[in-house]
Symmetry: D3
Subunit: 114 residues, 6 copies
């Protein structure tokens, strides 16, 4: 867990630009679609971001977890709610999720401290 | 998609009994913990069941999807809300999710028709 | 392996229609994007379909494998080429892929016999 | 769970022959290597088959689980030992493993009844 | 492979405390259950730890592999036995496991050198 | 993304030697088989390396992606072709692939700059 949130965001932003500027339409359309999937509809963005967070946790993608922890925090997910999303992800995904849960907790501390 | 919901439930119930009666404490405790993870807390059961549904979809487990479609329906998840949970799962998990999404839609029709 | 190709295609087609007619824009846009990802560009459709096939095999999605076996056959992938795509998928994905490889071989026989 | 052990073995055997007779050396060498990985060495075949079983369970491959349940039974794995292998797989892999655990229990009953 | 075993253990311990002190009962019960799954029963702890190790390898979780390499070493797993567990994991999981196998070998050297 | 290509190659080479010199025949035979799976046959090595790359991307293995980016570059895969392989991997594997895609793009820049 050596990478700071600032470094995470800088690399993410630089690489997203590189992908979006590459001229490959499939990838830029996918990025656009990915963005829109979390817009409010029958479900609000807060709920959708929690869906994204639990999916990232059970699929064990640390960077995806970091991103959705940030977004959930912005949408007002409380500490207790975060813990319950994590708990569902842990039970669904099993002990193999634990290392990712540890890093998710560290990110949560980091985000809450800002 | 030849297995009816009745057959699904009968096999599920019979096998759960066999596992719970096997005398293995780790497994019976896990089943208990799994049950309690969806009880209301900071998040309600409806939200937690949607978390379980999207996790099942991105992990591509048809039986888990069937179970959570049933439970979400019982908790009052509407058709529009189901579609938005499916959409987040599809974007997170990619086209590899599509065959499971088709079966999820078939289950949704089946549950809604009851 | 009880489902015929005709049944596979009928269920696939009926459920795709249901999804596309559901009114959820994220899902219909994803389906459109999925279709376009295999259009010819710097790489031809034949190569892209082989990429889709090997991805489906290592991700162990039988329905996805069936779909790409059909499409690869339409694009002129030969029996020897199919076997080499399968071999790469087997070595990358390991013995856990073998049951899916068996079903892929059965689909290949079925498609070739038509 | 409609496929009998006899049908499982017949399809498995027929398709393995087709793969081994296909002339693709990578695949036939892989099958040979897969077979030899379970031969006794510093660890006995019984232990190695339990390793194969738990791997199949956490990777959620029903056919692989069926195969290793048969092989473990042949190697003298007892009912209590099977349950403990299943329990480790369940805790490592989480509730997403449960549908596969149900089918594993059904296969265990089937094998034990022979 | 820049993180030392000492750093691994320190982060693991600090984050486990944070999770266990969070007040979320589902997570603390899961941690307790995870611990008990490896206690001796019909199978000894050494065998169960090898089951945990091969599961971690095929699921490609470096931190889980590190943890079970440490525990297996404590339980008396020999170098030859470690290699055979790794070999089963490699054949089951395929070449995608190789980068994790490299890190597992590095951890094994590190643990053996202590 | 702090590890340079030189560090990646040095660790990879040192650990491969350790594995191949360990005396475990299953692992050394697997490595040999892995190498031969990409030799030209009905499909050329360039196509097979692209199959390896897309498999690595959808299975989300950064080190495997790095290896196949290097090999594809050696086999003459152009920037446009790389982007199309990435695009297929992104659509098949979904947004969970994006962090790995970012690192793949960074590796592509690194390889192209040499």
């Amino acid at each position: 867990m050596t990478e700071s949130l600032a470094d995470f965001n800088a690399f993410r932003s630089r690489m997203n630009d590189l992908i979006l500027d590459s001229g490959n339409l499939t990838m830029s359309r996918f990025f656009n679609l990915d963005h829109r999937a979390y817009e409010p509809g029958a479900l609000g963005t807060k709920t959708k971001e929690m869906l994204g967070l639990v999916s990232s946790l059970v699929l064990r993608c640390d960077d995806c977890v970091t991103y959705h922890v940030i977004r959930c925090h912005e949408e007002g997910v409380t500490r207790e709610e975060f813990l319950e999303v994590f708990a569902v992800g842990l039970v669904v995904g099993g002990s193999i999720v634990i290392p990712h849960l540890r890093r998710a907790m560290a990110r949560l501390e980091e985000v809450a401290a800002q």
